[in-house]
């Protein structure tokens, strides 16, 4: 094996994305970044900071407010052999680009019999807190999981953010790269060198044997907190981060469920026709006829995201409610068990505006 520099240090999720982008752009001239505000002084929460001065404005392209055209421009450039990384500061704006994404980019490789490839990455950030409200906090990853031809990846740790962005840019398909605003400041150990985190491979973030908890995007962080609360009552939760939502590593989840007999899926999104529905269906198809498995899903309340904090707090599943749901699922009934309160500093300390 070649020698590699495996030295790691603690950096944030946003810094990890910035570093992956810089390394990808240095390695391959065809990689470029485009989107609204990508070269402004804030640099998309630091994820694109200083790239423009290093690589020039031809490769860090500030775009007009035209999401549908930007998506088409990105896919057209990829047909010419470029590797665009497109950025949406909020995932909500992707709805303006669904035609280019679903009707064109997702279908081109198949519909042209393999003659066309669309290697493009669309980074999209889910917002939350400080009153992001109805149109700045939507989590639409399940829309994209529905469509063949697209890949969807939603890393939750700085390590996986860097490695998944590398895999996404090197992939020859349109990839929806899902970030969460509340993850950007999270720190973790990240190798300096470039490395890949593969599609279709889930990660067991915390091993356990009583219940399997699957957490998607920022919900993962709350699931880890819930697992800590459960541990105080001697309940051992296994927490799985799917990372890659399409393709999905259902095998790792099923193996865990076969061990624990209990499954709680917590999505950072609505449950109706959502990622949690898909994961639960796949698990049922795989484990039915074997031992009895208790299952439950949690996600956003099925309402539009409210702005005022008192309602917003009810809208999102927090670690307390996740822990309580897990406990009650294990007990097979509603109990009056109350978990330890776990702080969510990224939410409590966030002062916006975006």
């Amino acid at each position: 094996m070649p020698k590699s520099n495996i030295s790691t240090r603690s950096i944030s999720y946003a810094e990890a994305i910035n570093e992956a982008t810089r390394q990808l752009m240095s390695q391959d001239e065809s990689v470029f970044v485009l989107g609204i505000g990508v070269d402004d002084p804030r640099g998309i929460y630091g994820t694109t900071s200083n790239l423009s001065s290093e690589f020039g404005q031809d490769r860090v392209v500030n775009m007009p407010l035209a999401e549908d055209a930007i998506t088409g421009i990105a896919s057209g450039s990829s047909m010419a052999g470029m590797r665009p990384i497109m950025v949406h500061e909020r995932m909500d704006f992707m709805l303006l680009a669904m035609n280019q994404l679903i009707n064109v980019a997702a279908k081109s490789h198949y519909m042209y019999g393999g003659a066309i490839k669309i290697p493009m990455v669309i980074r999209s950030i889910i917002g939350r807190s400080w009153g992001q409200g109805a149109q700045h906090s939507q989590a639409l990853h399940s829309f994209f999981m529905h469509v063949p031809g697209l890949k969807v990846i939603a890393p939750t740790t700085p390590y996986d953010a860097k490695g998944a962005l590398v895999s996404s840019v090197k992939d020859n398909n349109p990839v929806i790269f899902v970030e969460h605003r509340m993850l950007h400041n999270y720190k973790g150990q990240v190798p300096k060198d470039m490395y890949s985190v593969p599609f279709g491979k889930a990660r067991i973030l915390r091993a356990g044997h009583d219940i399997t908890i699957v957490g998607i995007s920022h919900a993962m962080v709350e699931c880890i907190r819930a697992a800590k609360s459960l541990a105080t009552s001697s309940i051992s939760a296994e927490v799985i981060d799917p990372i890659s939502l399409s393709p999905l590593d259902v095998q790792t989840i099923c193996e865990s469920v076969e061990k624990t007999g209990n499954l709680l899926i917590v999505d950072n999104g609505w449950t109706t026709c959502g990622a949690s529905a898909e994961i639960m269906s796949l698990v049922i198809e795989n484990v039915q006829g074997q031992d009895k498995v208790n299952m439950k899903r949690m996600g956003f309340e099925f309402v539009t995201s409210p702005t005022t904090k008192i309602l917003e707090d009810l809208y999102y599943p927090d670690s307390r409610r996740i822990a309580k749901a897990a406990y009650d699922l294990l007990m097979g009934k509603e109990t009056d068990w109350e978990p330890d309160v776990q702080e969510s500093p990224e939410i409590d300390e966030f002062k916006g505006p975006f």
Partner: protein
């Protein structure tokens, strides 16, 4: 001598334009005849009547220049040098088709000839053409992209989004609007407050012209001039609104209900070119196209349908 050379070059060009137009017209008229036999089990949108635009424009392009088109794409595909066997087999849904039977008439492609695809959703290839042109620009490649679309596409938001970007970045591309005045059965005047599309394009800050003659030579000259401006002077983008006529229904082989009135009013480009070409040359063209078309139909009929396992092929690259 110089004048004679120029004259002989023009004769060659006229001959080529005639051949290209005759070939496309003949192929599409044959497709219209085959259609009722139900061997082509998918929608076809014929270009009959409006071939002059793609024939004229593509005559000014090199093989490495790139085009993007629409679901009414047979004429563009053939004018840019796309393989007829691959097209006919694609229409028949056969494995030897350009997209292995997965695209059909509306999604012709031939990347080796710079034919980068055609979309069934109006206006969707316009930004892709700009993206391709952006790649040419940053790589300083001496080629251009031509985006073909209809008058209906100019009503879509993405058309305006792309014109703005292309003009902002001075992209090496030409927008060619094939204005046949109809979106299915709705006339342009029912859909657009200002029907002068070239005028609307010009406000984005690009050279824009309306070409009224449905004549391939005029269109060739304009596109050739624009291409030279882009390559030699770094100018771009350019916009041409080409007035033309579609003789058939929006979709399918039938003639338009008003075809009799229409043919009394308009000048057919093939008939016009025919007057400029020698009868010997025409006889050769007739024979050549007849043979090529028979072989292509035979190829399509004899080719196998795709194997079942190809259903799952090329979902991901």
């Amino acid at each position: 001598m110089k004048n004679e050379n120029r004259k002989s070059n023009k004769t060659k060009l006229i001959n080529n334009l005639y051949k290209s137009l005759y070939r496309i017209r003949t192929i599409e008229e044959k497709i219209a005849l085959i259609y009722p036999t139900d061997q082509i089990k998918s929608p076809v949108h014929l270009s009959i009547g409006q071939e002059a635009v793609t024939v004229g424009a593509c005559a000014a392009l090199l093989e490495a220049d790139v085009v993007f088109g629409t679901y009414r794409g047979h004429s563009l595909y053939l004018a840019k040098g796309g393989d007829l066997n691959g097209m006919m087999a694609e229409l028949y849904g056969k494995s030897t088709g350009v997209a292995g039977g997965k695209g059909g008439s509306m999604h012709l492609v031939d990347t080796n000839r710079g034919i980068m695809g055609m979309s069934a959703v109006v206006a969707t290839t316009i930004p892709q053409a700009a993206g391709y042109a952006y790649a040419f620009k940053v790589r300083k490649q001496n080629n251009i992209v031509v985006s073909f679309f209809g008058d209906g596409a100019t009503e879509e938001g993405v058309f305006h989004e792309t014109l703005n970007f292309a003009a902002l970045k001075k992209l090496p591309m030409i927008f060619v609007c094939e204005n046949n005045q109809y979106a299915v059965l709705s006339h342009q005047s029912e859909r657009q407050s200002n029907t002068n599309i070239a005028e609307r394009a010009s406000v984005y800050g690009m050279h824009s012209e309306k070409i009224d003659q449905n004549d391939p030579y005029t269109i060739y000259e304009k596109v050739n001039w624009a291409r030279n401006q882009i390559i030699e002077k770094g100018r771009g983008p350019f916009f041409f609104e080409c007035m033309t006529e579609r003789y058939r229904e929006h979709v399918g082989p039938s003639e338009r209900d008003d075809v009799k009135t229409l043919s009394a009013e308009i000048v057919d480009p093939l008939q016009q070119l025919s007057k400029l070409v020698s009868s010997d040359f025409k006889q050769d063209v007739f024979k050549e196209v007849d043979l090529e078309l028979k072989q292509a139909i035979n190829f399509a009929e004899k080719s196998a349908f795709p194997a079942n396992d190809s259903l799952y092929k090329d979902v991901y690259a």
